[in-house]
Amino acid sequence: MLRQKIQTYTLKIKQNQFLFEELVKRDFKKRYARTALGMLWSILNPLLQLLIMRLVFTHFFADRIPHYTTFLFSGMIVFNYFSESTREGMTTLIDNAPIFSKINVPKYLFLFAKNAQSWINFVLILGIYFVFCALDHVAFTWKFLMLIFPVVCLAVFNIGTGLVLSALYIFFLDIKYFWGIFLQLLQYVSALFYQIDTFSPAIQKLFYLNPIYLYIAYFREIVLYGIIPSLTLHIAILAEALLVFFLGVWIYKKYNWEFLYYI
């Protein structure tokens, strides 16, 4: 009895793993098949963005903020990962509607696969980020290892957000448009190119309501200032990631059978 249960369970894992891998492969090929530069472009793109920001904002901030390139890059890497994985993730459920309306598959795997792609992209850029840190004469310490914490939490946070958005997108097609605007606004309040300490203490607190800023602050504290972030920051990051993740899981569970009606 128990043996049988374990057997069906391991089979389930094997099946889902196979499907997940094939979906990742499919998304990868589809994304990079058409552009000649392929993956190179997804790395060049943020670097160009960095270059432009650096050129434009140097005049205003570079004298006041040491290691300004790294400062910019820290914010950008976090924000871009969030922005890309949620924008890409949003359409996964609709894109795969022809499949889950015919074949009984676990629907969340579509989003997981898409997120794996954004994650690989992010890790590549993270590598380049560290190269830039070195070029920018940032002191490497063992504390850099702690970056694993926000990186993992951000992945969970992004999956959660992707689950919520992909479900909403099935119901309301204009969410895509609203999310685009939201991301643009979010970019301005995430302190990508300025420091928040020029604001009054009351307004500084408001920045911490933005989950993305928490990650950016964490990165900057470790990389630029070499300090270990407060316990509160750790708890806030973890709690928000789990909260959004379970919200997404709950929505998928609740509406699992409803999605079909809206396609």
Partner: protein, 259 residues
Amino acid sequence: MSIIEVHNVSIRYKKGNFKDIGLKDYIIRKIRGTYHVEDFWADKDINFSLENGDMLGIIGTNGAGKSTLLKAISGVMEPTHGYIRHEGRISSLLELTGGFDDALTVRENTFLRGAFLGYTRQFMNKKYDEIIQFAELEEFQAHLFSQLSSGMKSRLAFSVASLIRPDILILDEVLSVGDGAFRKKSEAKMMEIIRGGATTLLVSHSLDQVRSLCNKILWLNKGQQIAFTKNVREACDQYEAFLDGNLDISEVTARKELN
């Protein structure tokens, strides 16, 4: 014990102007009170059960609820009321060519489809050559899927799906795939699975096919169960008469033999 039990199953769709609207329209319509969602019952109170090795023919006009019922049995939809209980592995061939990706090669699509159907990688590695061979697509393995003809596409779909020995086989108007030669081959393959003891549910608009293959009939009409009977000949005759307009649905006598 029966291998499939469908008990008081009703399945609902939602109809109305709610599809393809945005959040903006949704809120506006909610405020104005013009947001309507209507229930539409594609199947109402369906009851039947099948024993091991049974071959059920499901008949009924377009929109009768046949495909919807099969979707619920294969687990794509959930019955709104009632329950479906089954034993063993289900393999379902619903609309074969949906879900393939034109931007991938034949080989990639084969593996992807295998993954969708719940096979493991090991299994696919072992069976890949056999699938391609059966589909007669050896020369096309590296071609993009969009370069295949639609007959070739359904041949591949059939080959992947018919690979395993399911306990329950669901066929929704798919018994005739491809050109004449392949059709013979696929029918033979299907019969092999059926003779191997699979319990089969077959939707077909070819009454000859139903007559010659099935030992039980489920007749649906506009979501209502008209008959579930072992008397295949009588049910088919009456269905034919009904189609020709010579018989009113209330006069169906096969009804009396329910269960």
